[in-house]
């Protein structure tokens, strides 16, 4: 979970870093009237995405008119698709030098890695590629809770070597590294980054920007931290971008779901194309099944097949959750056909088929839209699942007439997908003919 800059700064401050004085984080322009501003002031759009500065989301304002104008503009702005709902006003600081400092996770070994550079304020990955000598990097192999003094010292010495002006503030720099590291460990972050860490003319060391990405898996035990920044510890904040209605619905029910087509609510379908909803099993096959549908579409159906969603229906979902997964895709206006795969490892074929049949019966009886379902089930509890499916088809054939489930691995899934798509096109053609007549 990403934190907003002003939240991250408050956390850093608690761990001993100096931050610019925050005047307010406002959500409406009217709030400006109640503030007593001292100029110059920094006006910063609070969005959880990078590239803010270039997009005009950071402005230095020297009077109230300028401030008002920029705040107004920013509230109307979308930065890489993210609307600006909050603006931070903070005291501007004078800049003598800019330093880069971060504590993150090494993607190769998963150890903690500390990076600092006397060349701050710019894209650090670019610096790392072009001038690796400008970067100090240290991998912490033992996951210590508090950073040992000698490592903080080593980092500070590196910075002093790069810029002799830092000699007088060496202790401040090693303290900053230590604070950042300790904050990283204590809030259980994935990323803690300050870029730039500013050295002012009077030799103060101030975090002018701040980035914290928390580890979602540890949020449950970070309740005090989350409460301190007004986040309900039980519901993680959805970041990145705005959710579609279906993403929001899935999020509430509690399974990972993404729409692959933009604006699915008011999206116009291409009549020639087949839109495939996916209930694929676990996350890995969730990703792969999208590729499979595209690949099969390209090879055998002239590229006319569009997968509409990602879903992770693995991990042993309950009956109700399985039913909700199918309801969601049958309520989705884009869906022409649903392709599903249940390869029961931890999850049970039996619960899966019961949930699926429950959703079909519910929809049939409440006269909701029915979508053909094609798929296969293999693995845990297959025998019980088959028995249930056969019984259900005998008892209530009508709602299940368009349910086509291959039992066992008599066909590989790629072939089931191909059959499903083929069937989907046939049904679609019939529907179009019906409409024409």
């Amino acid at each position: 979970m990403k934190l907003y800059e002003y939240e991250a700064k408050q956390i850093f401050e608690k761990h001993g870093l100096v931050i610019p004085k925050q005047v307010a984080a406002i959500e409406q322009i009217e709030e400006l009237d109640d503030l007593s501003l001292k100029f110059p002031v920094m006006v910063k759009a609070m969005v959880l995405i990078g590239g803010r500065g270039k997009a005009g989301g950071i402005k230095l304002c020297s009077n109230i008119e300028e401030t008002r104008e920029n705040v107004e503009k920013m509230f109307e702005m979308k930065i890489h698709g993210c609307p600006v709902k909050k603006i931070l006003l903070e005291k501007a600081v004078d800049v003598a030098n800019e330093i880069y400092m971060s504590v993150t996770t090494d993607p190769a070994t998963f150890d903690i890695v500390i990076v600092t550079s006397a060349s701050g304020g710019i894209d650090i990955e670019e610096v790392a590629r072009t001038h690796p000598e400008k970067i100090w990097k240290k991998i912490i192999k033992d996951n210590v809770k508090d950073l040992p003094d000698d490592i903080a010292e080593e980092a500070a010495i590196f910075l002093v070597e790069k810029n002799a002006d830092f000699l007088t503030i060496k202790d401040k720099l090693s303290n900053a590294i230590r604070s950042l590291y300790n904050a990283f460990q204590q809030v259980e972050a994935k990323i803690c980054e300050i870029n730039p860490l500013i050295v002012t003319k009077d030799n103060s060391v101030i975090a002018a920007d701040a980035k914290i990405v928390l580890d979602d898996n540890s949020l449950y035990r970070q309740a005090p931290l989350l409460k301190s920044i007004n986040i309900d510890p039980r519901s993680k904040r959805h970041d990145v971008s705005e959710q579609t209605v279906y993403e929001e619905q899935a999020y509430k029910i509690g399974f990972p779901y993404l729409d692959l087509i933009e604006h699915p609510e008011d999206f116009v379908k291409d009549k020639d194309k087949l839109y495939v909803g996916l209930v694929p099993g676990g996350a890995g096959y969730g990703i792969f099944s999208i590729d499979e549908v595209v690949n099969i579409g390209n090879r055998y159906f002239e590229g006319k097949v569009i997968p509409i969603n990602f879903m992770d229906s693995g991990g042993g979902p309950s009956l109700i959750k399985v039913a909700d997964m199918f309801h969601l895709l049958m309520d989705h206006p884009a869906t022409d056909i649903i392709i599903t795969s249940r390869f029961g490892g931890i999850s049970s074929c039996d619960i899966f088929i019961r949930g699926l049949i429950m959703s079909l019966r519910d929809r049939f009886m409440s006269k909701k839209r029915m979508i053909p379902v094609f798929g296969r089930m293999v693995g845990t509890d297959l025998a019980a699942a088959r028995a249930y499916l056969e019984k259900a088809k005998r008892e209530t054939p009508e709602p299940l007439k368009d349910l086509h489930i291959v039992i066992g691995n008599q066909k590989i899934m790629a072939d089931v997908i191909r059959d499903g798509i083929d069937y989907g096109f046939k049904v679609k053609k019939q529907l179009i003919e019906k409409e024409v007549n």
């Binding site: 449950y220 676990g282 693995g314 490892g345 297959l382 025998a383 019980a384 691995n409």
Partner: protein, 713 residues
């Protein structure tokens, strides 16, 4: 050699163990089995332990804090800690961890520290900081760590799986003999593993090992740690990795292949998912997210560098099949056979849920107590020895017998604090059940001792005291010194009131009681005790419930049977007719009134295994008189009356002997209740130590899992 599987030291799992723990590998090679353990026995851990065993995995023990000393799936011991488990089972080489993410770290570190070389971490959503702590420890101990968020590992040629993978994988098979060769698959995702194996099997390509490395962002052993390792396994012909967007595992593997091509001795095929994934969105797996701006983690970044390392990259099941087929240019088994085997799975009938008991095996005309035929036990062993056998599985040694004797005798001497108002017509079950509820001595004793056999011996002693109250023999019981009397004599004293009996007489009464100790989990008394045990009531409450289920229709027929036999003998004397004729006349009368003949018929046995041994003992003791004679002909007479075969049951035999011993017929029910305390006690302890609380109890679904038939030495 078995054609079902290869010997473990030919397989990939053994090879992996040998790389990190050569000493342990040597021991495994000798023992010819790889021992595994389960850490975390919640719903999933327990269920998959069962599925693993069904597949062929040797699940040696489990670890669950707070449940040490109990068992799972009736026979698998549970320990408090991993260290304790390893101490008791030093050959354990693989552990699977099924804990919740909030407790996974401590358990995993404990397992690693215990020295187990292969750890399969099923748990997902483990906090990153915890994962780093786990990794620090794993590196220190050179542990091969699969996961977190792994579906597990499976080795089809050895028939070993650790984790929750479905049973769809296929080993090499030539002329019905399983072989160790094939491809090895490593995957970040569970379902992909299955789909890959499935696809390869459909083309006749076997898997000798399928390894889930885990879907989380930070995991234990990575592709770079494992790929060259498994390539060096002689029976691996090709390696498939299934990667996906996010992270840089595939990239660092490719980089290593470029820098150290000599380490990679076999062909590698990479199936990478996420060619059509949107940027910046996490796709289920915490690790599967394309971070904007990064130069790694995308489908293209992975594909490019893998291809630079001369790895074939595919993104479609059919392509995978084609590429692997062309690289190997052979098949490892008959595809037809594979589909035949799979067809059996998809056509299989849903299995009935069963559970196990190790106490008594009830078969028509045979009763095995922990494997020993009950008639042998009755003939050769005393009540306390039998009750010890019931609860512990073995007979006690001499020292233990003495200890149990002393406990039981002392228990019988301790005063009962309540004053009971017992009318001569009170029901024995009701009184003993009530006494158990009111008596605080048993719970006091349990504060001093946790020895289950001792607790049951103590309860038998207490029950003897209640019986002495009922049969008005308390005074003589109080007077006797326990130093001068055996428990068997004391029973005779408490029940009959006579001291200094001939050995054979006391022995006969003890044998009758021993004959009643148990009849498995289905009699109503056992069911009542088990239901209460499943809710974890205290021992004496569950015992009381079981005893109160003993009525005229269950276990209480002996008294009525005794009365019947006595009436036959009386009639014969009165009318001066023979016993058979007297039996015939009385039986006809009884049947005319619509009543049943007590002591006849059994729902399982046509010849009750307890019958002959009791008849023989009664003869030896000189108590095979008229009633026993009647009991031997009653079944034939019944046929003469009704034209139906109805065998005499144990109640009938006991009733006849009691009647011939000229003691109170009410004792026939009392001995049944008394003896059954031993069996009910054993069932109580089996339930609380091997089953989860408040489980769904399906009595008719119990399966006997104890020892087969054995002889008393």
């Amino acid at each position: 050699m078995s054609t079902e599987k290869i010997s473990v030291d030919q397989g990939l799992l053994y090879y992996l163990i040998k790389q990190v723990r050569p000493d342990l590998a040597e021991k495994i090679s000798k023992a010819e089995t790889i021992e595994t353990m389960i850490v975390g026995l919640g719903r999933q851990g327990t269920r998959h332990a069962q599925l693993m065993m069904e597949y062929g995995t040797n699940v040696t023990c489990g670890v669950a804090p707070g449940r040490g000393g109990t068992k799972v799936h009736e026979t698998i011991p549970i320990y408090e800690t991993a260290a304790e488990a390893v101490e008791n089972h030093p050959n354990i080489a693989v552990a699977s961890i099924w804990k919740h993410y909030s407790t996974a770290k401590d358990s995993t570190i404990e397992v690693i520290k215990a020295g187990i070389p292969i750890v399969v971490l099923i748990s997902e959503f483990i906090p990153l900081r915890d994962v780093r702590d786990i990794l620090v420890e794993a590196r220190k101990h050179k542990t091969i760590l699969f996961g977190g968020n792994t579906p597990g590992i499976i080795f089809p040629p050895e028939s070993i799986k650790v984790g929750m993978l479905p049973d769809i994988f296929q080993a090499q098979q030539v002329d019905d003999i399983v072989g160790p060769k094939g491809v090895t698959i490593l995957s970040r995702s569970g379902a992909i593993l299955y789909h890959l194996s499935d696809a390869l099997a459909s083309a006749g390509i076997s898997q000798n090992g399928v390894l889930g490395v885990g879907g989380d962002g930070a995991i234990g052993s990575r592709f770079i740690d494992l790929v060259s390792l498994v390539m060096n396994f002689e029976h691996t012909d090709l390696v498939v990795i299934a990667g996906e967007i996010g992270g840089m595992q595939e990239e660092i593997l490719a980089q290593d292949m470029i820098s150290h091509p000599e380490k990679y001795t076999k062909p590698l095929v990479a199936m990478i998912s996420g060619a059509n994934a949107p940027e910046g969105k996490t796709m289920g797996h915490a690790g599967a997210v394309i971070a904007p701006g990064q130069r790694y983690g995308t489908y293209n970044s992975k594909r490019e560098i893998l291809e630079k390392a001369e790895v074939t990259v595919v993104n479609h099941q059919k392509d995978l099949i084609d590429v692997v087929k062309s690289k190997l240019n052979k098949t490892y088994f008959e595809i037809e056979d594979y589909y035949k085997k799979m067809k059996e799975k998809w056509n299989a009938k849903p299995p009935e849920p069963t559970w196990g008991t190790l106490v008594t095996n009830v078969m028509p005309n045979n009763l095995l107590i922990r494997g020993y035929p009950l008639q042998e036990v009755i003939a050769n062993k005393g009540l306390l020895e039998t009750s010890h056998l019931l609860v512990t599985g073995e007979f006690p040694n001499l020292e233990k017998i003495e200890e149990l004797e002393k406990i039981a005798k002392e228990a019988a001497k301790e005063k009962f604090s309540e004053r009971l108002d017992i009318s001569p017509n009170s029901d024995v079950s009701k009184i003993i059940g009530t006494c158990l509820l009111l008596d605080s001595h048993i719970s006091e004793f349990m504060k001093k001792s946790t020895d289950e056999s001792a607790i049951i011996a103590f309860s038998l002693g207490r029950a003897l005291r209640y019986l002495a109250i009922i049969f008005d023999n308390l005074e003589v019981l109080n007077q006797i010194s326990i130093d001068n009397i055996s428990f068997a004599d004391m029973i005779y004293l408490g029940l009959v009131g006579e001291e200094k009996q001939e050995k054979q007489k006391t022995r006969l009464l003890e044998a009758i009681i021993t004959a009643c100790v148990d009849h498995g989990v289905t009699p109503p008394s056992a069911q009542a005790t088990l239901i209460l045990a499943s809710t974890r009531t205290s021992f004496e409450v569950a015992l009381s419930a079981g005893i109160q289920a003993i009525t005229d229709v269950h276990g209480g027929a002996g008294q009525k049977a005794a009365e019947f036999f006595l009436s036959v003998v009386e009639k014969a004397k009165e009318n001066n007719i023979d016993l058979e004729e007297a039996t015939f006349r009385i039986m006809k009368e009884i049947i005319k009134t619509g009543k049943r003949i007590e002591g006849l018929g059994h729902r399982i046995h046509t010849r009750d295994p307890r019958r002959d041994v009791l008849w023989n003992l009664s003869e030896k003791a000189g108590y095979a008189k008229e009633c026993v004679t009647v009991s031997k002909l009653v079944s034939d007479v019944f046929f003469r009356v009704r034209g139906m075969n109805l065998p005499i049951n144990v109640d009938g035999v006991i009733g006849a002997i009691i009647a011939d011993m000229d003691i109170n017929p009410k004792l026939a029910k009392a001995v049944f209740v008394f003896g059954r305390i031993a069996g009910l006690g054993a069932h109580y302890y089996e339930e609380v130590t091997t089953q989860s609380p408040m489980r769904r109890l399906a009595f008719d679904k119990a399966v006997y899992k104890g020892p087969s038939i054995r002889e008393i030495k």
